[in-house]
C-alpha cells in the first residue's frame, strides 16, 4: 500500500512556480532520498507534503487526503533543516512538544505522553540529557533531540530536511544509522533530502532527482547516480566508483598534468 502519493503536485511561492506536476509514489516502509541542486525545490516538496505551504494537485497519505493540521501531524513528523531552538527550553520539554498532535493546544500531559517520551529518550540515548537546555548541546546531540521530538509524534512517516548538514562525518553516520534502525524497528517510511550524494546512495532504497521543480529520474541509487546525470543537473564533473554498498561519488579534479 502506498504511504504517500502525489499527483500533479505543483507549488508556486509568491507567484513564482517552484514545483511543476510532481508525481511520487512512496511505499510504506520505504526510505526515499530526494536529491537535486540548490533551488530545485527539495525543501518546497517536503513543506508541501507537510501542509505548511499551499499546493495544487493531490497529496494522499495512506490513501486519503488529510486536511486538518492536527491529523496530519499524527501521521507525518518533520525534522527541519535548521530547527528553531527556543532559549531556556529543556530537552524534556522539547521532546514533549512532539506530543502536541495527540494532546491538542490546550491538553495536559497524560501518562501515555510521558511514557512515549521516556521510550524515545531511552532509544536515542538521551536519558542523561533530559534536564539540560537544548541550546547547551553539541550539534550531534541537538540533532538527536530534534529527532526525538519527531519520534514522540509516533507518526508513521518521517520527513527529514538535510538531516546531516551541520554534522561532522561521524555524526552524519550516527544519525542516518539511527534513522535506519528506527525505520526497521518501527516500520517507518522515511523521506529525506540530502546534499551528499554518496550518503544518499548508501542509505535508503531509492533516490529521486529533482531538477527545476520536476522529478527527472527516480530509481535505485546506481541507476540515478551516473556521471552524465550529475553533470547535467548539478553542473559537476565527477567520477563514480562502484562499491559493494553503493556508488561513491568523487569530484573529478581537472587535468593538471603538464602538457
Amino acid at each position: 500500500m502506498p504511504s504517500i502519493t502525489t499527483g500533479a503536485l505543483s507549488v508556486a511561492l509568491g507567484g513564482v512556480p517552484i514545483l511543476h506536476g510532481v508525481d511520487l509514489d512512496i511505499a510504506e516502509g520505504e526510505w526515499i532520498n530526494i536529491i537535486g541542486p540548490n533551488g530545485s525545490g527539495k525543501t518546497t516538496l517536503l513543506r508541501s507534503l507537510l501542509g505548511t505551504i499551499g499546493h495544487e494537485g493531490r497529496i494522499e497519505i495512506g490513501g486519503v487526503v488529510i486536511d486538518k493540521p492536527q491529523d496530519r501531524a499524527r501521521v507525518l513528523a518533520y525534522v527541519p533543516q535548521s530547527p528553531v531552538i527556543p532559549p531556556g527550553m529543556y530537552v524534556v520539554d522539547y521532546v514533549m512538544l512532539g506530543r502536541t498532535p495527540h494532546r491538542g493546544v490546550f491538553g495536559r500531559d497524560t501518562d501515555t505522553d510521558v511514557a512515549v517520551a521516556i521510550d524515545v529518550l531511552n532509544r536515542l540515548d538521551l536519558a542523561g540529557f533530559v534536564e539540560r537546555e537544548v541550546r547547551s548541546l553539541s550539534g550531534g546531540e541537538r540533532q538527536r533531540v530534534v529527532l526525538a521530538r519527531a519520534l514522540a509524534q509516533q507518526a508513521d512517516i518521517l520527513l527529514l530536511d538535510e538531516p546531516t548538514t551541520a554534522l561532522d562525518l561521524g555524526h552524519q553516520q550516527d544519525v542516518l544509522d539511527l534513522v535506519d534502525g528506527l525505520r526497521r524497528e518501527r516500520g517507518l517510511t522515511v523521506i529525506a533530502t540530502l546534499h551528499d550524494l554518496t550518503l544518499a546512495a548508501r542509505y535508503g532504497d531509492r533516490i529521486a532527482l529533482l531538477a527545476d521543480g520536476r522529478i527527472v529520474v527516480s530509481g535505485a541509487p546506481a541507476e540515478v547516480l551516473t556521471a552524465e546525470v550529475i553533470a547535467e543537473h548539478f553542473g559537476a564533473t565527477v567520477r563514480i566508483i562502484d562499491e559493494p554498498d553503493g556508488p561513491v561519488i568523487v569530484p573529478a579534479t581537472p587535468d593538471r598534468s603538464p602538457r
Binding site: T52, P80, G88, P101
Partner: protein, 345 residues
C-alpha cells in the same frame, strides 16, 4: 527513568503569592498614617463581606485602610498584573524580547483619546461621568484595529504587523501632539495623565478594569502551553498540528484589550510589561507555563510597591508612577541580569 516536564512549582507559586501579600500589606499600611501589618490584615479580612475581624483600629484608621488605600492598592495590582501578563504574552506571540504591550499602538491611541477628552473638557470637571478613560480606551482599541488592518495589507506576516504597529503608534502620537499644541492650556493635565498614576476616587476605576483583567488573564492562562509551542516558530508549530496564526490573534487580542483597559484608567505606565516578564524568566525560567501565572502575581506586586514609592518618596507630593517604575525598575533589572546565569533569549 522518570521525567518531569516543566510545570509551575508550588515553591514558585508560593513566592509569587508571598510577594503579592507583602506588597499589599505594605501598600495598605504605609503612608502619612502608619498602620501595623497585623492590623492591616485584620482590616482586610473585615473588608470582605460576610467576614468580620477586630483590627483594633479606630474607625477613621480602618476607613483609611478600607476606603482610601484599598481601592488604590487593588487598582495598582490589577494594572500591574494586566500590563505584565500582556507583555509576556506579546513577547511570546511575536517571539521578540523587546516587545511590550504597547507594540500595536495601544499607548499612542490611548494618549490621543485621553488628550481629546481632556482638551474638550470631557473630564469629570464637567460634572458628568469621567469620559477620559472611555475615550482613552476607544483610542487604544482603534489603534490596535488600525495596526491589524495595516499589517494585513502589508502581507499578514508577523514582521509586517510589528512594523504597522510602529507606524500607527508614530502617527497617533503625532496627532496627539498636534491636538495638544492646539490646546496648550491643557498641557499640564495631559502631561500628568501620560505619566501615569493609580490614584482612585473609590472603586470605580478598579471596577472598570476588572472585567478586562479577568478576560486577559483567563485567555493568557489558557494559552500558556500554546505559547510554548509557538516558541519553535510558525512552521514547526504548524508541523506539530497547531495553527499559529489563530493562537497569535487570540492572545494578541486578549492582551491588547487588557493593556487598553489598564492604560485607560492609569495612564501610560511604561516598562512594567517588559521588565516583570524578563525578571520572571531570569529567575524561574522561560516556559510560558511558568511565566504567565508568575507575571500576573509579580506584576501586581511590583506595581503596588511602585505606587507606594510614588506616593511616599516626596511626601506630601506624588511622583508620577511611570517615573518610579523605570527609576526603580531599571537598576533592579540590571542587578537581576547580572546575577542570573540563565540564557533567556
Amino acid at each position: 527513568m522518570t521525567i518531569e516536564p516543566t510545570r509551575l512549582r508550588a515553591s514558585a507559586l508560593g513566592a509569587g503569592f508571598a510577594a503579592l501579600v507583602v506588597a499589599v500589606v505594605a501598600g495598605l499600611g504605609v503612608g502619612p498614617v502608619g498602620i501595623a501589618p497585623r492590623a492591616v490584615l485584620y482590616a482586610l479580612v473585615d473588608a470582605v463581606p460576610g467576614l468580620s475581624a477586630d483590627s483594633g483600629l479606630s474607625s477613621i484608621h480602618e476607613a483609611i485602610v478600607q476606603e482610601v488605600r484599598l481601592p488604590r492598592v487593588v487598582l495598582g495590582l490589577l494594572v500591574g498584573a494586566t500590563l505584565s501578563v500582556s507583555g509576556a504574552a506579546y513577547q511570546g506571540a511575536f517571539r521578540n524580547p523587546l516587545v511590550d504591550p504597547y507594540l500595536l499602538g495601544v499607548a499612542a491611541g490611548a494618549g490621543l483619546g485621553a488628550t481629546i477628552a481632556i482638551t474638550q473638557n470631557l473630564g469629570d470637571g464637567a460634572g458628568l461621568v469621567d469620559l477620559v478613560p472611555l475615550s482613552a480606551f476607544a483610542g487604544a482599541l482603534f489603534a490596535v484595529v488600525l495596526s491589524y488592518g495595516a499589517g494585513y495589507i502589508g502581507g499578514r506576516s508577523t514582521a509586517s504587523l510589528v512594523l504597522a504597529g510602529v507606524a500607527v503608534a508614530s502617527f497617533l502620537t503625532a496627532c496627539q501632539t498636534y491636538v495638544l499644541q492646539a490646546n496648550s492650556d491643557a498641557f499640564r493635565e495631559v502631561y500628568s495623565w501620560i505619566l501615569g498614576r493609580v490614584a482612585t476616587s473609590g472603586w470605580s476605576e478598579p471596577m472598570l478594569l476588572l472585567p478586562y483583567f479577568v478576560v486577559a488573564v483567563a485567555v493568557m492562562l489558557r494559552y500558556r502551553r500554546a505559547l510554548d509551542i509557538l516558541a519553535v516558530g510558525d512552521e514547526e508549530a504548524q508541523a506539530l498540528g497547531i495553527d499559529p496564526r489563530r493562537v497569535r490573534i487570540h492572545v494578541v487580542v486578549a492582551a491588547s484589550l487588557g493593556a487598553a483597559a489598564a492604560v485607560s484608567v492609569s495612564g501610560l505606565i511604561g516598562f512594567v510589561g517588559i521588565i516583570v516578564p524578563h525578571v520572571v524568566r531570569l529567575v524561574f525560567g522561560t516556559s510560558y507555563r511558568v511565566l504567565i501565572p508568575l507575571s500576573i502575581l509579580f506584576g501586581g506586586a511590583f506595581m503596588v510597591l511602585a505606587d507606594l514609592a510614588a506616593r511616599t518618596l516626596v511626601e506630601p507630593a506624588e511622583l508620577p508612577i511611570g517615573v518610579v517604575t523605570a527609576f526603580l525598575g531599571a537598576p533592579f533589572f540590571v542587578v537581576v541580569l547580572r546575577t542570573s546565569r540563565r540564557e533567556v533569549w
